[in-house]
Symmetry: C2
Subunit: 213 residues, 2 copies
């Protein structure tokens, strides 16, 4: 019996399918070949139990025996310690991966996700604020274009840092934002061609489709 | 001789003083009583050496013998493993702290920092995009107000999660954004009253003031 349980929504609208963050955890579990099962919680009504495990009412969270963890970055570090396919075992290698885990979330996604929220608001006004946000993201993407040049993966061998960084850049690409960043685009292509990503993606699509009835 | 070296800018303008992220690292080092020294890199001109250690051209980074680490979250996890004053030693306690480390950066700061960039652009237009960003931050602060209710610290005893969460909320407060969140405000007050914060803050102010000549 598997003791790793991944919690995600029972259903989501079409737009976020293939991009719900449980995908990052599925992908890591598939890369490591760790057995797990998926359980669903209501998207329509967030229960007190849900908030007890994920204080922002989001998904995913992971249950590993008596330990419950939320935040995809924290879950991936937890899984990383369980498999050298996800994170090196030497301290220098771990530090290298950990810094890029945070960079994906706190330096790149911090610039991309709010801009998407801004755009999804249906706002088309060219204001100084919007330009400030776009400059913020462009600055980060330019630096990633340099950081990834000549590298297959961002922190040595493939690791959880690549799962997070390529997933963040994949969202930017979907919004049409990687046009000027061919190195980032090729990196996303390389990462999403991995069998573990394809399995994770297909499984998430099937999971939400099953709820359509 | 200390082997921990914290790298920060030699100088910054007045506005960010007291808020440059090396403060998070200084604070953790002071809490743990770990010896360290501070080295400066040019703010005016970012060298190739700077980008080699911090690919986004920012600060801080930490040198621990042959390991160099950037991203304040990654640095604090590294230091956390060196002292029980910063992070519990049992796996469940570590998971609890780690998830809140990521929550501070990827759930709360992700909502606050871009909104500040937006506001600092001098934008006063009430557009749907701006409202979307403000709703995003308000949603996160409301959840923090609930999560912190009845708790002294966010993940058990005081830990690196509190250093990051209170520092993120301190920036929101500075922008006048905690008016409706008395629990968050009291938490920031409690955290910043700690002697280690006061020392770290004073040291950062003195460091940049020294460069004024």
């Amino acid at each position: 019996m598997s003791e790793l349980v991944l919690f995600t929504y029972d259903w989501v609208p079409d737009a976020p399918r293939g991009f719900v963050r449980d995908l990052r955890v599925r992908w890591a579990l598939e890369e490591a070949g760790l057995p797990y099962r998926v359980e669903s919680v209501s998207f329509a009504e967030r229960s007190a139990e849900h908030f007890a495990h994920q204080p922002f009412g989001q998904v995913p969270w992971l249950q590993d025996r008596d330990v419950s963890i939320f935040e995809s970055g924290a879950i991936l570090l937890h899984l990383g310690a369980m498999s050298p396919a996800l994170m090196p075992e030497d301290p220098a290698g771990r530090a290298r991966v950990t810094q890029w885990v945070f960079a994906a979330l706190n330096s790149v996604e911090m610039a991309s996700l709010p801009l998407m929220i801004f755009r999804f608001s249906g706002d088309t006004t060219e204001t100084p604020g919007r330009k400030g946000l776009e400059k913020f993201l462009d600055g980060r993407l330019s630096r990633m274009e340099t950081a990834l040049a000549g590298r297959e993966w961002i922190a040595g061998d493939f690791s959880i840092a690549d799962i997070l960084m390529s997933d963040v850049l994949r969202s930017v690409e979907r919004a049409g934002g990687l046009g000027e960043y061919p190195v980032c685009r090729a990196y996303v292509e390389r990462a999403t061609a991995r069998p573990a990503f394809v399995k994770a993606y297909d499984d998430q699509i099937a999971h939400f489709a099953a709820a359509d009835g």
